[in-house]
Amino acid sequence: MMQDRLEAWITGHLALTLLAVDPVGLGGLHLRARAGPVRDAFLSRMPPALAPRRITPDIDDTALFGGVDIAATLAAGRVIRSTGLLSRPGTLMLTMAERCGPGLAARLAQALDSGAEQSLILLDEGADADERAPSTLTERLAFRVDLDGLRAQDLAELALGDPEIDAARTRLSSVTLPDEAMILLTETAARFGIGSLRAPWLACCAARAHAAVSHRNKVGEDDIQIAAQLVFAHRATVIPQGDEDAATPPEPEHDGDSGQDRDISDDLRLPQDMLIDAVKALLPPEVLAALSVPRTAPAGKGSGGAGQKRKGNRRGRPLPSRKGRADGQNRIDLIATLRAAAPWQPLRRKAQPDATGLLIRPSDIHVKRYQELSDRLVIFAVDASGSAAMARLAEAKGAIELMLAEAYARRDHVALITFRGDGAELALPPTRSLVQTKRQLAGLAGGGGTPLAAGLRMVADLAQRAQGQGLSPALALLTDGRANVPLPGRTGRAAAAEDAYLMAGLVAAMNMPGAVIDTAMRPQPDLAKLAQTLRAAYVPLPRADAQGLSRAIGTALEG
């Protein structure tokens, strides 16, 4: 374990060095570490060639792109423009990158793509796997370094000197990349299931940078191996099949240090398996764990959608305007600004007798604020089949009534879909009315097969409609077992299961929080799998009353 940590430290440094050599080609570095002495130590060894400028996730457009500096303009009485950080080439360091919103991510990605000679270092302090920097950005950066679990006393001193980095920079343009190297890296990326073509290209850049650092004018096998390790390890989505002894990767067969200096034109036949083993050895443990089960949450928080509504200052219910800065994102409340300035006019006029017009100071500026609250729609999809028995249905009804009772405070709407026999039924359209609900729920019937697929399809339809209306849907699926009725037009149990998973995929793509409540007497592994496909929490709840159910759903959906 100790060895692994040290390895992370060393590869981190290597990545930093390579980045300093070719910042534009490599895009940047995604550093996952909590703030602390280890991260500070790592960043303090940053080669001066990078000299990053720090930005935070709430940086405004004016600071990034430049624009009219309203505060300075008002103070000076003439137009003053500020230059944006992106207008100068260099390295930006985004702190708290896990909180970076999709808007900023898109702008930074655009800057990285535009060839404006920018590179980016993301300081990602996410605590768990779900909390991470936006994938729009991480996809464009060559490296990821994970320093978690490292202790300050483990650290070793190993940075390259600046003159060496400068020399490597000048050498970089003359480093050639043999065709075989490109083929090798591309094939390796494909075998690790990396779809994006940026990965092999970034690896090519990394290999060139490494060759430049190692005083070579041609990319050799060491360069390729290191580039593949640095760039592919954290991107892998599958473990290449074919060799089961992944635990003990064979030692790469180097014949001593002299091997580095060989002319590699004809012996660049680094066996691909060896390269794959090398990358495998560096696969982070959590990736291996995630790969052993189907991928569960590729979207989620990593990408963030505009669908979730939040408090903003652009639309929604207006709030009183407040003093603020004009940063290009806010809308200035002119009336309030003038009102704030009005009482001071005589005083200011005395100070500036020759000024004409209104005398407005930056401190007068008021910005509009809006509050946008999104209502949540909890969709109950309840299995009303014979097996699920009437008791379950009654509990679901109870839970719905309980949730509705709190709905006003929590801004919840509730809808109920039941599925039984050969189809699904929207028993209760989205509503917040308790009275209406009670009346509707009274006459619900149960019995028949379990058409899970039909139920999920209706969930998807309803959720999509709800999203269109600005609601944030959430799903609570109550069932006790396997699907046994397929969608119309197909027959058989196998088809039923297949359809259910297909529809679950459709629901999962809508990216809503959810919970699968297993109401069977014994937890069903099938349902856990379905929950995984749905990207929903799995809650086995063999005996529940309405209150317990409501609580369980509440916690599962909050999480």
């Binding site: 808007g103 996809e139 290209w201 979207a299 505009a306 269109g468």
Partner: protein
Amino acid sequence: MRQPFPFSAIVGQTEMKQAMILTAVDPGIGGVLVFGDRGTGKSTAVRALAALLPPIRALVGSPTNAATAEDHPDWAEPVSGKSHDVPTPVIDLPLGATEDRVVGALDIERALTRGEKAFEPGLLARANRGYLYIDEVNLLEDHIVDLLLDVAQSGENVIEREGLSIRHDARFVLVGSGNPEEGELRPQLLDRFGLSVEVRSPTDIDERVEVIRRRAAFDTQPEAFLKKWRAKDTKIRKAILSGRAALGSVEASDAALRDCAELCVALGSDGLRGELTLLRTARALAAYEGSDAVTRDHLRRVAPMSLSHRLRRDPLDEAGSASRVLRTVEDVFA
């Protein structure tokens, strides 16, 4: 700014390239939606296409790239009347852009410092006569997408807010891209994009290697690389220009119209936009290829991109809607 990657050097992705070329031939087709994985060259293709098009002639200092003094909006500062060549604009619309920034708003700076009511044009003005590119259009807020599609269709941006009443030309080709895994676009919005194509990362190793190879050549020796592909780019540009000229004279027989209608009925696409776009795209393809009438072959080739996003989604059909369109085309044209 460095030169964009040459359009003709983009490996594969023929459908995407074709769709983009057709909107360049006839901007009235109404935009392209490109859905696909990350790192498949979506944004590269848009930028490359704009670089390939001939520069437009615009008045110096005109905020909307107006070609003549009549087109120059009256709210803007008067211009000298001199014009210059500018490259076809490609404007990026970033996620999280405010409505103010997109449509334009009261010029706060002038309002506060000089007490004047003036209009500060937004991204739509700058995109006039060019391309508006939105990455991750599926994550853009719905009201902005709505607004964009409205403007794209009418070719005019109308601003009625903060005491301003202003309109200006905004004729642009909307190119949206996104990754469907991260969220869908509402069907109402889908339908209003003219064409839609799906791109995938190439699975063939040789093709992937070729992508990397060209990218390496482009990055290490940009001049040589650009020179190598210039001839092909020029060929495409000439074909686009002659296609634009020939567009009016391409004939669409009644039989072709009938084919369009039958196809759309067979596919059950809602509304009449399907037929209109199909015909328009087929016509653009015919013009681009130098034929003087729309044939079944043209229709067959553009049907997937102009119809696949207008179908009711059938989640059980794993093959995707494009192949469903193709199947129906074969049935109808049999």
